[in-house]
């Protein structure tokens, strides 16, 4: 059941009505309903993996309490490492086992050793990377005594399995979401309206921008050997908008629908393509994952407290791990590595925290420099996205090679019977709308909201891509 499906359009209003009119007695009834809805939502993919979700929930709930209750440090450590080990064990088994096994076998074959690796015939449980990270952050925070263990199983279960964020984030923190869950929610019209607006804008990003760009990007990436330089550049740009529209659109829908239930989730995107350098980009892209790695990996590794070499080492580690988190393929690791390389000059010049304010343009030369920096950052991210999108590292390098050496920039007819430049006008309009509303979460609220709402609905109805349906990219992670 996808957020942009007809079944979800029926599911959400039913849960909403039950939540505010039937189960509104107290927070326990509200939370119970949301858990039932969440488990139903999750079981629509594959009910068998529901057991994994429940087990993971119970494990972290129980170990969290045991860590808190343990009198001795050894006991605390035991329960802590048990939780970490089992969580990462599941993630490793389902997501990385086959990858490591085949990579090892290929390496062995390279040395002339014949191996026949044992591979698991399992499907990756949807959302496992996200709910595992929920549980991990909870247990780590208890171990380091940042939070108290949650004794109410219903509340804790909802924290892990809350359906808007269950399958593709944002990755929530117990310090942020649990206090909200523990309060009875009262209906707030302004919050709900803002939620509807954010959901609709998320839908625009998904069905109008991402899925349309996907049609073009797929046609170019799948046939890159026959594409000219101009087309390959556009292919990378289209994919950049596809993945942004897809993932930030999903996040907007998750945040928006959560507001309908009176819960505010962590913001996951903050107009990343308006970043002036790559450090700013990573403060604005998939914020919940970046901050997760910062808090639970970068800082425990020493963060930026040590010397320059330690900073560089830690930066490379979190980018490589972040890349690997996305999927069991070397292309993601290389994507992470390239981003670390981009980050390196900023780190060496100690300018990685230069751009933390909102971009403001005026008629000065400085604005020209700002725009140039934004364009350069976008271009760099597009080059890195080629590795994220390509099937293999070889494909990515060949794609880039052809992009720089082919030298032909004529409009090219694509395999999907479309010309290459048709989409650009729509993307320019989208960028203009986002730019004008970059201080807000969505562009519909504020002045002339009814007109903007109508325009937004028109674009969803008339410009959306529906027949060539594409799943959310981040569901596979």
């Amino acid at each position: 059941m996808f957020f942009n499906s007809l079944t979800f359009a029926i599911f959400l209003p039913i849960v909403f009505v039950l939540y505010w009119f039937v189960f509104n007695k107290n927070k326990t009834t509200q939370n119970t309903l949301l858990i039932i809805a969440s488990y139903y939502f999750y079981s629509c993919w594959d009910w068998r993996f529901l057991f994994l979700l429940v087990f993971s929930t119970f494990l972290d709930y129980y170990t969290g309490i045991r860590i808190e209750k343990s009198q001795k440090e050894s006991g605390r450590k035991f329960w802590f490492w048990l939780s970490i080990g089992v969580n990462l064990g599941f993630l490793g088994m389902f997501k990385y086992y086959n990858f490591f096994t085949t990579s090892f076998a290929e390496l062995a074959n390279g040395f002339g050793l014949k191996t026949s690796p044992f591979l698991l015939d399992v499907v990756l449980p949807v959302g496992i990377s996200f709910y595992t990270f929920h549980g991990l952050s909870y247990v780590i925070d208890i171990y380091y005594k940042r939070i108290k263990a949650e004794y109410n199983f219903v509340d804790y279960s909802l924290f892990v399995s809350y359906f808007p964020l269950l399958v593709a984030g944002p990755i929530e923190r117990a310090t942020h979401l649990l206090p909200e869950i523990k309060e009875k929610r009262s209906f707030n019209f302004e919050q709900a309206k803002a939620g509807i607006y954010q959901m609709l804008w998320g839908l625009v990003k998904k069905v109008v921008i991402a899925d349309t760009c996907a049609t073009y990007a797929n046609a170019i990436f799948d046939h890159y050997p026959s594409m000219n330089s101009g087309s390959l550049i556009l292919g990378a740009v289209y994919f950049a908008f596809q993945i942004y529209g897809d993932f930030s659109g999903y996040s907007d829908m998750a945040l928006g629908m959560s507001k309908l239930f009176g819960l505010e989730l962590l913001r996951n995107f903050n107009y990343p393509y308006f970043s002036r350098d790559i450090a700013e980009f990573w403060r604005r892209w998939h914020i919940s994952l970046s901050s997760w790695f910062r808090d639970y990996l970068y800082i425990p590794l020493g963060g930026s407290k040590g010397g320059m070499w330690m900073k560089i080492r830690n930066t490379f580690i979190i980018f490589l791990v972040s890349g690997f988190w996305h999927g069991a393929n070397w292309t993601y690791v290389v994507w992470g590595f390239i981003n670390a390389l981009y980050f390196l000059p900023l780190l060496l010049r100690k300018s990685n925290r230069n751009n933390i304010d909102t971009v403001v343009l005026d008629k000065s030369w400085n604005s020209v420099k700002v725009v140039a920096n934004i364009l350069l950052t976008f271009a760099l991210s597009c080059l890195a996205w080629v590795f994220f999108r390509a099937s293999t590292i070889t494909d990515a390098f060949l794609y880039l090679k052809k992009m720089f050496t082919n030298g032909v920039f004529a409009s090219q007819y694509l395999a999907n019977e479309r010309y290459n430049y048709e989409l650009l006008l729509m993307l320019l309009a989208f960028v203009a709308v986002e730019w004008n509303h970059r201080t807000k979460e969505e562009p519909i609220s504020g002045k002339y909201q009814t007109v903007k709402l109508a325009l937004c609905l028109t674009s969803i109805i008339a410009l959306g891509t529906y027949s060539d349906y594409k799943e959310f990219i981040y569901f596979q992670f």
Binding site: F187, F189, I196, A454, I461, Y466, S467
Partner: protein, 292 residues
């Protein structure tokens, strides 16, 4: 909550109004276009006279050279549609009758397409803009499982088939960008395949007692149209080629021309002849049926 309910009602009303307005706009634009595909060409025409009308799938569209019929003095149009099934061929003929066409002969390519009675999603969609304006189209779609959604939900058909009749096609129609499907009397010539030996596997296909085929036959009888059904050539290396014999058994009136052209050099793909193959095949059809 009352405020929110009112807000939700307002939003739903906006959606409905938009759907109705967009539906009207799209339908109006499609109802005035006749240069992008064969279906709108027929829908937006009246009282045409043809000596020969060709119907069928791409195996009609790529195989019957209309100009060769014209050279014989026969006013001909190839209404074969790539990807089309007999569902659409039948509806197109019905639409021609509704538009008072006078046709002397219908040549129907009836071979592989006899094996299913489903509509072709890619072709049938082009009839949908007119579903409220043509009783024939409405009636033809009425037994389809999604008829109610397509007919009663405003703009649903344009959303559901957005790749075919959605914004992109709407914009091209509105800006009067024509296609070449109506050139050369509707015949579309294919180039020779240079990739070497071709093959195909049709061993899973079984000819049905196809209701749309029967319907086309009945329309021709009712309107005193000479009806010629033919099987068109396949390449030599086709697995399950006995399918054509099965068709002949089920429908003795269908003329089997499957073996008229077989050499790979006359094919673009195993099921589709190139321009040279089409000329040989058309010459044979003209000789057998229109030699007088």
């Amino acid at each position: 909550m009352k405020q929110f309910i009112l807000f939700t009602i307002k939003t739903i009303i906006i959606i409905l109004l938009l759907a109705v307005l967009l539906d009207y706009a799209y339908t109006t634009v499609y109802a005035h276009s006749n240069n992008r595909n064969k279906i709108e060409d027929v829908y937006n025409s009246k009282n045409r006279n043809y000596d020969v009308v060709i119907l069928g799938s791409s195996r009609a569209n790529n195989h019957f050279v209309s100009e060769m019929f014209e050279q014989k003095g026969l006013k001909t149009f190839n209404y074969g549609i790539s990807g089309g099934h007999l569902f659409e061929a039948d509806l197109l003929l019905k639409l021609m009758m509704e538009r008072h066409y006078k046709i002397k002969t219908v040549i129907l390519e009836a071979d592989l397409n006899l094996s299913n009675e489903k509509r072709s999603e890619t072709v049938a969609a082009n009839f949908l803009p007119y579903i409220h304006r043509s009783e024939i189209i409405k009636e033809h779609f009425s037994k389809e499982p999604d008829f109610n959604s397509l007919y009663y939900i405003p703009f649903y058909r344009y959303v559901n088939f957005d790749e075919l009749i959605g914004f992109r096609e709407f914009y091209k129609t509105l800006s009067n960008q024509s296609t070449n499907v109506l050139d050369k009397g509707g015949f579309h010539a294919l180039k020779q395949n240079k990739k070497g030996r071709m093959k195909n596997d049709i061993s899973t296909l079984k000819p049905l007692k196809n209701k749309y085929y029967e319907d086309i036959k009945a329309i021709c009888v009712a309107n005193k149209i000479n009806f010629i059904a033919v099987m068109t050539p396949m390449c030599e290396n086709t697995k399950g080629i006995d399918y054509f014999e099965k068709v002949k058994k089920a429908y003795p009136e269908i003329h089997n021309y499957e073996k008229v052209v077989t050499a790979d050099k006359y094919f673009s793909s195993c099921g589709h002849m190139n321009a040279n193959g089409a000329k040989i095949f058309t010459a044979r059809i003209l000789q057998d049926f229109f030699s007088n």
